[in-house]
Amino acid sequence: MNFEFLGDNFMSLTVTGLTQGAIYALVALGYTLVYGVLRLINFAHSEVFMIGTFVTTIVWAGLGFGVGASAPGTFGVLGLIALAVVAAGAASGGTALIVERVAYRPLRKRNAPSLIFLISAIGASVALFELVGAITDRQPRGMPSLVQPKVQFTIFGADVTNLQIGIILSALAMLAGLDIFINRTRLGRGVRAVAQNPDVAALMGVNKDRVIMLIFVLGGMMAGAASVLYDVKVGITTYSVGFLIGIKAFTAAVLGGIGNLRGALLGGLLLGVVENYGAGVFGNEWMDVVAFVMLVVVLLFRPTGLLGESLGRARA
């Protein structure tokens, strides 16, 4: 155990943890939205994220920014990232929509028990995973370092880079946008209505199928945006990249209270930071042990997660 290291590098670990946590939070939204409305854990969501990481590299490579290319100027980089967010968001959103149409909707029409949905979800996940694995020859795919990290300022001895600020701020902005969308707009009201009571919502004239499609697309788009941030940060992707991120994001969703948007944010950031502290104190190999022990402890005392599970009820 190395508490001295934690003390010396507390802020630095916090910053890198928040950066990773922001990505968890964005992916966690997909789990939380779908669960909030359908009470269904969409295991294929990790693959929705993975598709986004690949589409990003394909778009960049198509524009001449393959492995080893040098980064363009600031505006060029921002343009590439914006373009990737649009493309990956569309691809991930589209994938999520296809998964819902192919793997879930037929079951819903037949009133299948929830266990069947779970099997279908795992099936869709493995199918996508293996498909991309086969297409890419299971080789990792690199991409250029678009953002050269530059230290912007230092808080309590921790260097904060432009990359870290960018990732955290973009994630927060997207979360805020989604929160406003769900809580303030007409479509969002429909989502909340279906989450609260699907049958009554249908009686009130809400198109349930449209709402369900909407939440899959929204969740997918958030995962697509997360995949771009991940690519910028990590710079390499493989067909299996969704697995670990997916589990962590799902954990983050449960930690914050699954079905709760702000809970996903809180859970993601908390998970990122705590597992980073854990890695600092106990060593890197203990990272996941610390993360999941924390999950168990939180659930012991708050079985519905930190902020409670409620897309429909609470205003939170």
Binding site: F5, D8, N9, S12, L13, T16, G17, T19, Q20, V67, G68, G133, D137, R138, Q139, P140, R141, G142, P144, S145, Q148, P149, V151, D159, T161, L163, K233, V234, G235, I236, T238, S240, V241, F243, L244, N276, A279, G280, G283, N284, E285, M287, D288
Partner: protein
Amino acid sequence: MVGLLLGAAACASDDDGGDSTDAAACGSKIAFFGALTGGNAQLGINIRDGAKLAVDQYNKANADCKVELVEKDSAGDPAQASGLATSVVQDAKILGVVGPAFSGESKVANPIMSKEGVVIITPSATNPALADQGDKTFHRALGNDASQGPGLALYMKDVMKVQKTFVVDDASEYGKGLADQVKKTLGSVVTANAVVKEQQTDFGALVTQINSSGADSIFWGGYYREAAPFLKQYRDAGGKAKFVAGDGVKDQAFVDGAGAANAEGAILTCPCVPPEKAGGTFAADYKAAVGRDAGTYSAEAFDAANILLAGIKAGNSTREKLETFVDGYTGQGVTTSFKFQENGEIDPSAVAIWAYKVAGGKIVADQEAPKS
């Protein structure tokens, strides 16, 4: 009329009888055993292509008595190795195996195959313990980690003159074995160590740890799948320490994944001879047959397959006979001169450890590592 028929029949049976030893050795199979899919598949593909080249050349020269290469894709997963080893054992035509490619799967597969006499020549599994499992038919066509580790550490100490080294391993059979060897040889030069997980891609805490340790060099005991994203994040965070790793990282996919600028200057060692320095026309033949340059272990796999093929050509049509042949084999391959010790290890005088360097986005041979 009857006599004529009888004569013809006798003639035919005579032909069969006369060719029986050859006919049995003809149509024999050798198997490739290793990852063709999965995150670390490139090494397996290199090996398969090396072995395939040897078999194709053999079949061209012996068109009337061909040998078949069977591909057993393990995905590098020890959990799949026992089933795969059993399938090798059950095919009586398979006399020998080029592989298994990785140490983890070898540990599981070797006892199963050895028990049934299948001749094993691995061109790449370098964990020292594999020779001590009591697998009688095990052979290693290159030096093991115990020979790679000290050579690698001596290179770090004497050639790179490192002062403070941070050792990272991935807790795998291979990675930890190599890291332990390096720690032992470097001694007090090692300031700290850490363990990473398979498939880990986020190294925020580890990067902070290494940066705050003030190390001037990092030794990475593991494979390229984890090494590439690590090095990128480490360099992105301003880390300047020199990066050193063993043969599991020595692959172009590592340079591409980490980014050429980040990987520049990284030292990758290998108990393998640079393919371009391999003897004969191997490098050119490989390129012509496969369509790209020979990779890590292609040349060793070529040699391993050729030893098995030499045995089959000499008429050793059973696993038992082939095993005796390989045990007594001496000869020059394209990588080194082969002679196996009692435990299956290659003769120590034949082991060569090479250091490679990433320069201009390519992995190029640097120099042979010091032997003492």
